[in-house]
């Protein structure tokens, strides 16, 4: 197995990881600030992907498609926050789970109604198509490299937003003490809508970006949502830093496990059994990682200790 | 003097930069009520949690009946004989009064793994719960839902649950909290009669109750024991008057 292959897979893992981070960041912010578990976050990912596919299909512009994804997901997020979600902040987790599960049903079936059951395709823009040669002679798809760059840029932007801006101060205050922030004269319901829309926009962007390498279809959001849950369980709920590190860990573990476990098992098993065991085990690897983190630190790597 | 039932040696606990308790050594002797008083934030609740095991101490240790309990969990310490009441009532609000009391009896009997026998037909458990309820004056409300009780009745039920455990030592965290004059009086009478069964470590803000009940008082200020003594000694102690009683009076 060559070093080039390994490096390529590491890049794939990081690319997967930063896209997971876009999902996980919104989830963990929404939980950290508003105390809400949002299952419908995957629906916002899907909304972004469909909006992008529809706009790209109509205009041919990938940039417009991305803007549409951000706008549509943010809008959808703001609307559900104002109509449904804000009634749930004080509710039990069970109610939050159910109501947001109900939202998934409405979003998924609604999308199927409008767009049908067949997957849509979103093409990679021409300027980003094809491979680039990296130092060391590795050929790597430019688009995936761009995803990594976008993901890292957004991570840096979020860090700046939360650590260095006025709204970030309000967000951090909201995590600690809701009453205090209300006493400071901040319009808390506006702030909540804003945070929710921001999380939604990130999810929608991720949906659009990933939609160009996979297909755009109903139900695409939930597997990613559950992985994002694994990410924030590992990273610690409410922590953006934890979400980032958790996302990269999960991205790398999943990608590298899928590539390297089957050949690893071939070293001491017969090939067909090794392929089967290896692929079965690699599909479970991130959950094993999650279990280990839980045994070690039940509130995640960067979560507040109980 | 007989050996203390409960004793702490140099208990300390800090939360980040905040020192909650600092080198607290107290003891609880048979048949006494030992009151812990002190201003808000003096570390009283922290001390209680260190004794019951809800908080791990940074240093120091706790002995119950001469046995070190530092490594034991909350339920293990309870089974050894710590009967605790909570400052904010910890009652199953959806359940009835007797169900709340039976929970204590189940804990005391260790018969929680019975999945088949209806709990109301378990005579021993039911009797024990009823007896405790009668003693605190809730005998007429056994089938009332806890949520429908008055605040005073909930405070009584708190004590009843601890009673069902037949503990070796009571740890009571502000049992009078939120009670009116009449309610406090009733509870004072009740606690007064309990000390012969098991001594009481009593954290309380209600000074009338403390002076009426306590055999000894310890004053906790900024996490440290300022003084320990009889009611008369504490009343006369100039440090205490300055640091604490002066503010109240």
């Amino acid at each position: 197995m060559s070093a080039i292959l390994i490096l390529e897979q590491v890049l794939n893992g990081i690319q997967f990881g930063v896209m997971l981070f876009l999902m996980a960041a919104g989830l963990t912010l929404i939980f950290g600030v508003m105390g809400l578990i949002n299952l419908a976050h995957g629906s916002l990912y899907m909304v972004g992907a469909f909006a992008a596919a529809a706009v790209a299909g109509a205009t041919g512009s990938f940039l417009l498609a991305l803007i549409a994804a951000l706008a549509a997901a943010a809008l959808a997020g703001a609307v559900i926050e104002m109509v449904v979600i804000r009634r749930l902040y004080a509710s039990a987790h069970l109610d939050q789970v159910l109501a947001t599960f109900a939202l998934i049903l409405v979003f998924s079936e609604g999308t199927r109604w409008v767009f049908g059951s067949f997957p849509l395709f979103l093409d990679i823009p021409d300027v980003l198509a094809g491979p680039v040669t990296l130092p060391g002679g590795i050929e790597y798809p430019l688009y995936r490299l761009t995803l990594i760059a976008i993901g890292l840029a957004i991570a840096a932007g979020l860090w700046w937003l939360i650590e260095r801006t006025r709204i970030g101060i309000q967000i951090r205050a909201g995590e600690n003490d809701r009453e205090m922030i209300a006493a400071l004269g901040v319009d808390i319901s506006r702030l909540y809508t804003l945070i929710f829309a921001l999380g939604a926009a990130l999810a929608g962007l991720a949906g659009a970006l990933v939609g160009a390498i996979q297909s755009v279809q109903v139900g695409m959001g939930e597997p990613v949502l559950i992985l994002a849950f694994v990410v924030i369980v590992i990273g610690g709920i409410g922590s953006i830093k934890g979400a980032f590190i958790g996302a990269i860990l999960v991205g790398l573990t999943d990608t590298l496990g899928g590539v390297f476990l089957p050949p690893l098992f071939k070293l001491f098993m017969e090939p067909s059994a090794a392929t089967q065991t290896g692929s079965a085990l690699s599909s479970m690897l991130i959950y094993l990682l999650m279990s280990l983190v839980l045994i070690w630190r039940p509130t995640g790597l960067f979560g507040a200790r109980a | 003097m007989s050996d203390p039932v409960l004793q702490t040696f140099g208990l300390s606990k800090s939360f980040a930069a905040l020192v909650a308790t600092d080198d607290v050594s107290i003891d609880l002797r048979p048949s006494e009520i030992h009151a812990i008083i002190g201003p808000n934030g003096a570390g009283k609740s922290t001390l209680i949690k260190q004794i019951t095991g809800e908080l791990r101490s940074d240093s120091g240790h706790v002995e119950l009946l001469g046995q070190g309990v530092d490594r034991l969990s909350v339920p293990e310490r309870a089974r050894l004989g710590l009967g605790r009441t909570f400052q904010i009532s910890q009652l199953a609000m959806e359940d009835t009064v007797i169900e709340n009391a039976m929970l204590g009896a189940i804990g005391a009997s260790g018969r929680v793994w019975r999945l088949w026998q209806p709990v109301l037909s378990a005579d021993e458990i039911r009797e024990r719960a009823l007896e405790a309820l009668t003693r605190v004056g809730l005998g007429d409300h056994v089938h009332t839902t806890c949520a429908a009780l008055s605040h005073g009745q909930r405070r009584q039920l708190e004590v009843a649950v601890a009673l069902t455990l037949a503990p070796k030592a009571f740890i009571m965290d502000e049992p009078m909290a939120g009670l009116g004059l009449e309610g406090s009086k009733q509870l004072v009478t009740l606690l007064d009669g309990l000390r012969t069964e098991a001594p009481i470590l009593l954290v309380e803000h209600d000074m009338d109750a403390v002076f009426a009940l306590a055999d000894r008082i310890s004053v906790l200020v900024y996490g440290r024991i300022l003084a320990t003594g009889t009611v008369a000694e504490i009343r006369a102690n100039p440090d205490v008057r300055k640091a604490y009683l002066g503010e109240v009076a």
């Binding site: 109501a99 599960f101 839980l294 | 929970l103 804990g107 793994w113």
Partner: protein, 327 residues
């Protein structure tokens, strides 16, 4: 308002009356629907023990449903192909006997619940929800990649398993089997809820600090409840597989976990008959709305939102004037 006891009896009678009517009216499909409702009700009764009494919001109960299903599928697969089941050096024969399948389904799902429970109960609240969901997904992907038993395509079983003295191929007889099991499970549930254990479990949901203070360990109490819950849901999975004569990874899907919670809430969380009413209502809605529009899930979603936001006690709560348990 109706007394809950009266309502419970009414529900069971109606459940029995419908298939009997279906025989007289020669509507065999209705019997199949009733059987489906009884099996889903059983799964939800299992979940209700963890969720309703113990307050454990498990979003991964499909794991146990799936394990029960695969226990049936694997045993029947080896029986119908006459191949032995190799298990760590042991060579076992498959079986078509329902009672054996049930026992295996319950034991394996109880073991899975033990493992998942030990890990998940290290946490509480929203972590617990996410972790159970994640474990569900782990089993789902495992089933997909496990090609020996059909992988993504699942396993078909040609003939329904056998129960001594009963012709399980006759719909009403198979319904009878499922209905009796449901009644036994309900009886067990009622006994459990009234026992010292049930009382302690109920208190562990409401005031864990108090439970510890009386010398009990709420985590262990919840763990046993989770195991019992998993075993019952696993049994339902085995019956469900027998009803369809088919198992596939979708039995492990997170949607199914979500739907099981929906059944419990629809009927009334923590109420004995909540899951039964919820399952019956769900099957009726599915059949009726599903007949009206392909997109019936939109309406299910809307109904759910209304229940969550405005009718916390579910249907049983509405009819008896009691709120649901607070989870």
């Amino acid at each position: 308002m109706i007394s809950e006891r009266y309502l419970n009896a009414l529900v069971l009678l109606a459940f029995l009356a419908i298939p009997v009517w279906a025989i007289l009216a020669d509507e065999p499909f209705t019997i199949t629907l009733a059987t489906r409702a009884a099996i889903l009700a059983l799964a939800a009764v299992g979940l209700n023990i963890a969720l309703g009494i113990g307050g454990l919001v498990s979003l991964g109960h499909a794991v146990f449903f799936g394990i029960g299903g695969y226990a049936m599928g694997i045993l029947a697969f080896h029986a119908q192909t006459y191949t032995p089941l190799e298990l760590g050096g042991l060579s076992l024969a498959g079986t078509k006997s329902m009672p054996v399948v049930w026992v295996v389904a319950m034991i394996t799902s109880a073991l899975a619940a033990l493992g998942i429970g030990v890990l998940s109960l290290r946490t509480t609240g929203v972590y617990f929800i996410m972790i159970t969901l994640a474990f569900g997904q782990m089993f789902f992907y495992f089933a997909i990649s496990w090609s020996a038993y059909g992988g993504e395509d699942g396993l078909s079983i040609y003939v329904r398993n056998e129960f001594p003295g009963i012709n399980t191929l006759v719909p009403i007889q198979f319904f009878g089997v499922c209905f009796v099991i449901l009644c036994i499970a309900l009886y067990l549930n009622a006994r459990l809820a009234a026992s010292p254990f049930g009382l302690a479990l109920n208190a562990s949901r409401q005031v864990p600090a108090r439970v510890e203070a009386v010398g009990l360990n709420p985590t262990r109490i919840k763990l046993l409840a989770f195991v019992i819950s998993g075993a019952l849901t696993g049994l339902a999975g085995a019956l469900f597989a027998d009803l369809n004569r088919f198992v596939s990874p979708t039995m492990f899907s997170w949607q199914l976990s979500g739907e099981l919670i929906v059944l419990v809430i629809l009927g009334g969380v923590g109420r004995l008959m909540g899951p039964v009413v919820g399952a019956a209502l769900f099957v009726v809605l599915e059949h009726w709305l599903g007949g009206l529009t392909e997109f019936w899930h939109i309406f299910l979603g809307a109904i759910l939102l209304v229940i969550v936001l405005f009718a916390r006690g579910g249907v049983v709560g509405l009819l008896t004037g009691k709120e649901g348990a607070h989870v």
